[in-house]
Amino acid sequence: MREEDRPAIQAFTFFECAGLLQPTGERARDLSKLLSLIRTVEPGVIYHHTHQYYLKAAVEAPEYPNDFAVWAAEYLEERALAEKLAGLDLYAYRDVEEVRRALIGIIEGYLRENPMPRPVRNGDEFFFNDAVSIVMEAGPRAENLPDFIEGLETVGASSLYFHFFEARLRLRRPADDFSVWLEQGLGRGDLARRIRGLDPYRYSLEGLRGEILSLLHGAV
């Protein structure tokens, strides 16, 4: 039996997810209100505004990868703040509360060095939203590496979103589901380490899929 055909201890189940937006009814017209709401909103709200960029089926990606940075650039017109917010290194955090603290730190730091920006016009406020994910089996189950590759080639982009972003930050799993299964289910710690070496926030979901596939194809 070839090494790549070796069956896994437990099959891998791919999931896909449908997201539903839940407005909180809270909105900020200026940076001070934004900061105070960032301090108090539910963790899911922070997660949503720093991650929806990746799931959103946009034909053209916005200039910055999180909603706070986009709002700072487009509506507050504080480009330097937008750049600082866009530079948030999400892969370095293991918990949404760490992301919240980092956002607060960036905004407080900016306000120490700059005057308070003017409020935005009506309708241009930052609207705080939460999101619910309904997660469903995507169909294919992988018993070995070729199965896994085939599954990864066919699942929807939301599957990558779930197994990489939601698994780590919302379900507080130690790492992305793919690398955990490759290591624990298949005994392929080498592949797991290489996948964990990819910063998923640097890619679109399709880009991430392509990177992982080329890495796995190289192993069979």
Binding site: L20, Q22, A57, G123, V155
Partner: protein
């Protein structure tokens, strides 16, 4: 009516998979919709199709229509305006009429279902007759800046539901019940959006005396001041000095809106001496004509100064047209500025962008292609059907953020 398989060739396969799986989980359960009109208007049009899709999935979907009387419809028109921030007096007696009509309908309509969707303010008071199941208030109106008194009255009903749905996050209110956002959608297979051949388009335009010998600027909208048809004419005039083009303003009659009549006569007056401005007053059910006008357009305009969602934008993008729209209501979620069209804030802005697109047809073509893809991924009826079923599951798992089924 086309079945789910017809959409498989159009929508994302993942979307169809998710919809089918949600359908399997909810098959055999009952889903009741109540609104106040069975035909005319985008809500009824999409509801027809949604009911059919849900039934195909095995869900016992049903649709009931509230029956009112003239004082009731006058009153609900006032509510509609007040929720959109326009001045309309609503007296306590009017609210009594609203309640009475709802109470009498509750005696006629079987309201038992596992999930009940009540659409818009007209049937909102049916909630007081709830017997069982989950009840959701589905709001299709822009309530971002409602008149406080009208909203307070309505919120008295809405607060009794299990959840409320709005078309955009900006429309959400501070409410005691959970809120969700489900944007509206278009049906790519309906008469208004299905593919039309070039010959068919030509014949339809011929029938209205519109030649295709010049670039066509098209705005399809009610003749109402918030759609700014006079601003569109002003922008066209600025462009006309440099580009020989034709402007089509097409819209439904505004017989229930006295101000609409006045706007229409001003538009006609403005257009009177220019043979290249065509004002088309379309009767109800002119979907095929609207389809042909949008397909014949070089550029589609939706220069609104206030807007609910503005689905005509998605309709035009679906036909691969670049769209220039006012940056209001739901339009910015459909037009990604510079990618699927341009967002404008003034007559001058509209004129500038029209000239830019007429100068550079390749840019318009690229934007149109991106626009169609944007609509395919985000604004098709299959996405809306999926959202409604996902919401059903979410309501049965209240408090959970990641729900595995």
């Amino acid at each position: 009516m086309p079945g789910l398989s017809a959409y498989e060739k159009i929508a994302e396969p993942e979307e169809i998979r998710l919809l089918t799986r949600l359908g399997k989980r909810l098959a055999g359960r009952s889903f009741l919709h109540v609104n106040s009109t069975s035909e005319g208007g985008g809500v009824a049009e999409i509801l027809h199709r949604l009911i059919s899709l849900f039934r195909e999935l095995g869900i016992l979907a049903r649709w009931e229509v509230l029956k009112g009387n003239p004082p009731f419809y006058d009153m609900t028109k006032r509510i509609h305006n007040a929720l959109q921030g326009q001045g309309s007096e609503i007296t306590p007696r009017m609210w009594e009429i609203h309640r009475e009509v709802n109470d009498s309908n509750a005696r006629q309509i079987p309201l038992e279902a596992d999930l009940v969707f009540i659409h818009d303010p007209q049937p909102a008071a049916l909630i007081h007759h709830r017997r069982d199941g989950l009840w959701v208030w589905r709001c299709h109106v822009d309530v971002s800046h409602p008149q406080p008194e009208a909203w307070r009255e309505l919120a008295g009903h809405v607060g009794r539901y299990d959840a409320a749905i709005f078309s955009g996050a900006k429309f959400a209110q501070r409410l005691a019940v959970p809120q969700f956002v489900v944007p509206p959608s278009i049906d790519p297979l309906s008469e208004k959006n299905r593919d039309l051949g070039e010959q068919e388009v030509r014949e339809i335009l011929d029938g209205h005396g519109i030649g295709l010998d010049k670039p066509l600027l098209v705005q399809v909208s009610r003749f109402d001041r918030f759609k700014d048809p006079l601003g569109v004419i002003a922008a066209y005039r600025m462009v006309k000095k440099y580009h020989d083009c034709r402007l089509i303003l097409a819209g439904g009659p505004a017989s229930d809106d006295p101000e609409g009549e006045e706007i229409l006569s001003r538009v006609r007056e403005e257009a009177r001496n220019d043979p290249d401005i065509c004002v088309l007053l379309l009767p109800p059910f002119s979907d095929r004509t609207i389809n042909a006008l949008q397909r014949a357009a070089t550029i589609v305009l939706q220069k609104s100064t206030r807007e609910g969602f503005g689905l005509t934008v998605a309709e035009a993008l679906w036909k691969s047209k670049p769209v220039i729209g006012g940056a209001v209501g739901g339009i910015p979620s459909q037009i990604h500025h510079g990618a699927t069209g341009f967002l404008v804030h003034s007559v001058e802005g509209a004129a500038y962008r029209i000239r830019q697109l007429l100068h550079n047809p390749e840019l318009g073509k690229r934007m149109g292609e991106m626009g169609r893809e944007h609509v395919r991924r985000n604004f098709l009826i299959t996405r809306q059907a999926r959202d409604y079923l996902a919401l059903w599951v979410a309501l049965e798992h209240r408090g959970e953020r990641v729900i595995q089924i």
